[in-house]
């Protein structure tokens, strides 16, 4: 194994750069080092101006999404040795405006998220405050996968639909809506319907499936979207065929 590896980083500082450029750094190649450790080495020892987000460095806070050699990755869970002998190219996530260097603007997702009402809407069956809802492990399996989303945005970065249509509410937001729709305790599916079944909701998706490939937590947002299309289609057919009271 060589002792060092070159990391090529996409740089953009709006206050001084008129356009982006690549900077290249040589960092130690250690078998335990994630791409993030390489960036931290650059930041601490070589160039304090490099900006990126990170926090937990254990793949759970969702801060450190980047494009590594062309693919959307969590930089804390992507290892340098997998790219040896290098170079490794690190860019910001695609499909987002860049604030600076590897830091992207994710305000769009933060604004869309509440529109799908990703919280539990309680129904008539809510138990007393000193008791829990009963929910069997089998019932939990129905939505559990969709509850694993860490909001890392890699799926948006991978999504060709979002690239063309920024109004699309996107894979993670839909998966999170489904996380509640499919929860036996929730009674909010109706409230979420207008947004999910709109043109910018599931129907915008052309089922490319890149989101599920990119997802580091196996959430399968593409599956969530497909499943909702089915629900919405069935519902639409019912709406056509049945009188109001019987829907």
């Amino acid at each position: 194994m060589p002792e060092t590896i070159t990391i090529e980083v996409w740089r953009y500082r709006p206050e001084q750069d008129s356009e982006p450029a690549w900077d290249s750094y040589e960092v130690p190649l250690r078998k335990e080092w994630a791409v993030l450790d390489g960036l931290n080495h650059i930041k601490d020892q070589l160039d304090g101006t490099l900006s990126y987000r990170w926090s937990c460095r254990m793949g759970i806070c969702g801060s450190c999404g980047m494009t590594v050699n062309g693919e959307p990755k969590l930089s804390c869970s992507t290892f340098l040795t997998d790219y040896a002998p290098g170079p490794v190219r690190v860019e910001p996530m695609r499909n987002f405006p860049v604030i600076r260097d590897l830091v992207v603007e994710m305000g769009d997702f933060m604004a869309k998220l509440p529109t799908v009402k990703p919280w539990l809407v309680s129904g008539d069956d809510e138990p007393d405050e000193d008791a829990e809802y009963l929910q069997t492990p089998v019932e939990m399996d129905d939505y559990k996968r969709y509850s694993m989303c860490i909001n890392c945005m890699l799926c948006y970065s991978a999504c060709p639909v979002y690239a063309l249509d920024p109004e699309f509410i996107g894979p993670a937001a839909i998966a999170l809506a489904q996380r509640y729709n499919l929860d036996s305790r929730d009674a909010g599916a109706e409230d979420r319907r207008d947004v999910l079944a709109s043109a910018e909701g599931v129907w915008a998706c052309t089922f490319v499936g890149e989101c599920s490939v990119a997802c580091p937590k196996d959430v399968d947002p593409a599956g969530a979207i497909q499943r909702y299309k089915l629900t919405a289609a069935t519902k639409a057919v019912k709406d056509l065929l049945l009188p109001r009271g019987a829907r």
Partner: protein, 581 residues
């Protein structure tokens, strides 16, 4: 001009979000803002793995949870706070269930509970081994439904504004633009979490730099029991990533390099096949971490590139149980250690994990400063005393986050109006200071921020680690004061305003140097051994002199003063901590 809200909460982790919801519920007319240096769902609560304790089964009782907590704390907690805590913990966990938290379940649909270290009954609620993740996302998503809660995402608080003895707001920098804003408030709740990053080897995320402790201390609020820092016995070497105690609760065993269950040599009971509560691997964290040091001294730990380790053996648990109950452990071992715990031993060593001490508050989160409240890991109520029990922290941030929120809502309703001009003037001063920092640190001859930070962390490990003595602590204190002087001249490469993370790192380091000094100074004064504070020169607990909280505060001349406050004892007089017997 500045912004204004009735209540400003610093921090969008578990404690901050819970407090915000409590304020909104207590009085929907109040405006509440959460100011957080990361998006709330990135907060460190997200990393908590094992679970959250609250009485669940019929075989358990509030008194037993309280007793485990009191004895676990080596009697340094306040028992009135613990009694309130155990009762409200259960309510809070059920509340969270109603909000949608996917707690793991029994076959019949009831909440499942697991064993945890130092707990005599199974009472730890869990969501597989991603409890903190689910808890935080549930709180965050629920908070989204309260449209009146305003958020300042990715804003870094640099200072508390104090006028006429009252806390009146904060100054914060917006990361994206570098804009400095004065945010005026009737009351501030600090929910900024712990400070593990003052040490080199920690389970704590990069953001856990003790900022809230630092700004409170600088504003004149006292910090309590700062000498008590928890080492968790099982972190992965090199990364410090936590392998949750739940792994031992499910039956994992600790082996020395000879494959021997060494804990039996340290008064923690005898090895059995099935795990026994409050015994062996399920002893408290302080005792297990100390046992590691002795084992190392005896030459019975294994040596690796990343230092000495012992082994956690999960192989006998089998793939099915591991995948069902410890999937994250398997994922972390695979990604970061390149091993599969289903078939291999997991190397582990003690790692800095949790801060028992923090901003001194009463049982409602109020500090001695009017208008200033604190909750969560940043606060010291204290239910944790000299050693926190695993899985008591998540319920703590719910219970005391909610309490602080309610107390603030009441306080704000009664507080008289006050002129904002003097606080806005302070805000401008702070803005100028930050501008000076940005321009004056652009020099080529100064030391790097990262180098000073590394030296501080090494100083803390060497001087205030699992075992300490007068000489090590004194040396550390001297070194820290040298580092403060050097820090004043440290330089930065980055002069821009847009997302300047070097500026943030500099501000964090400035606070950490204060927090580190408080830890060491408090440790130097406490001439006894209790819980996580072990003095080799004073190996015994001394209840006559030190059954008391240490309280450190800053004097106007910048020096500190350590005083002691009595511990509240309601029903459990100090006794021996017995495990495995």
């Amino acid at each position: 001009m500045g912004a204004w809200h009735n209540v400003v909460i610093i921090g969008g982790g578990g404690a901050g979000l819970r407090a915000a919801i409590a304020v909104a519920e207590a009085n929907p007319k109040l405006t509440v803002a959460i100011v957080s240096k990361v998006y709330p769902m990135r907060s460190h609560t997200v990393s908590a793995e094992g679970g959250a304790a609250a009485v669940a089964g019929d075989d358990d009782s509030m008194d037993e949870h309280a007793y485990d907590t009191v004895s676990g704390s080596d009697w340094l907690c306040d028992q009135d706070a613990v009694e309130a805590f155990v009762v409200e913990a259960r309510k809070e966990m059920l509340r969270l269930e109603h909000w949608g938290c996917p707690w793991s379940r029994e076959q019949d649909g009831r909440i499942a509970v697991r064993a945890f270290g130092g707990m005599k009954k199974k009472r730890t609620w869990f969501a597989a081994d991603k409890t903190g993740f689910h808890l935080l996302h549930t709180l965050f998503q629920t908070a989204l439904s309260y449209t009146d809660i305003v958020r300042y995402d990715e804003w870094f608080v640099t200072k508390l504004l104090v006028h006429d003895g009252r806390v009146r707001g904060v100054v914060a920098v917006e990361l994206a633009t570098g804009r400095v804003e004065t945010i005026v408030a009737d009351a501030v709740i600090v929910c900024t979490g712990g400070c593990g990053r003052v040490f080199p080897f920690t389970t704590n995320a990069n953001i856990k730099t003790g900022d809230g402790m630092a700004v409170a201390y600088q504003a004149g609020a006292p910090l309590k029991d700062m000498e008590f820092v928890q080492y968790h016995p099982t972190g992965l070497p090199f990364t410090g990533i936590l392998i949750t105690e739940a792994a031992r609760a499910e039956g994992g065993r600790l082996l020395n390099k000879d494959g021997y269950r060494y804990l039996q040599d340290y008064d923690l009971g005898q090895p059995t096949d099935a795990p026994v509560l409050r015994s062996m691997e399920l002893g408290p964290r302080d005792r297990l971490s100390q046992a590691f040091v002795h084992e190392m001294a005896k030459g019975r730990t294994a040596e690796t590139e990343a230092g000495h380790v012992v082994h956690l053996d999960l192989r006998h648990l089998g793939e099915k149980l591991i995948d069902e109950r410890l999937p994250f452990v398997r994922e972390l071992c695979a990604s970061y250690q390149n091993i599969d715990p289903v078939h291999e031993l997991v190397p582990v060593r003690p790692v800095i994990h949790y801060m028992m001490g923090g901003i001194h508050t009463d049982i409602n989160g109020a500090t001695p400063m009017t208008g200033l409240y604190a909750a969560g890991e940043v606060a010291c109520v204290s239910i944790n005393g000299a050693n926190r029990l695993g899985s008591n922290s998540l319920p703590e941030l719910l219970v005391f986050g909610a309490r602080a929120g309610r107390a603030v809502a009441e306080f704000v309703a009664t507080v008289p109006g006050a002129a904002t001009a003097p606080v806005l003037a302070q805000g401008r001063d702070e803005e100028h200071r930050l501008e000076r920092e940005l321009s004056e640190r652009q020099r080529s001859d100064g030391e790097r921020i990262a180098d000073i930070r590394t030296e501080m962390q090494e100083t803390m490990e060497a001087g205030a680690g699992i075992y300490r003595d007068e000489a090590s602590l004194t040396k550390a204190l001297d070194k820290l004061s040298e580092l403060k002087t050097r820090f004043a001249h440290a330089s930065m490469d980055d002069a821009s305003r847009t997302f300047n993370t070097e500026l943030i790192a500099m501000l964090e380091l400035s606070g950490m140097l204060d927090v580190a000094s408080c830890i060491v100074a408090s440790g130097l004064r406490r001439e006894e051994s209790r819980g996580a504070h072990q003095r080799t020169d004073f190996p015994d607990r001394n209840d006559e002199k030190y059954l008391a909280h240490s309280v450190i505060s800053r004097k106007p001349d910048g020096e500190w003063r350590v005083e002691y406050l009595p511990v509240t004892i309601t029903r459990w007089p100090p006794g021996e901590r017995v495990y495995g017997r």
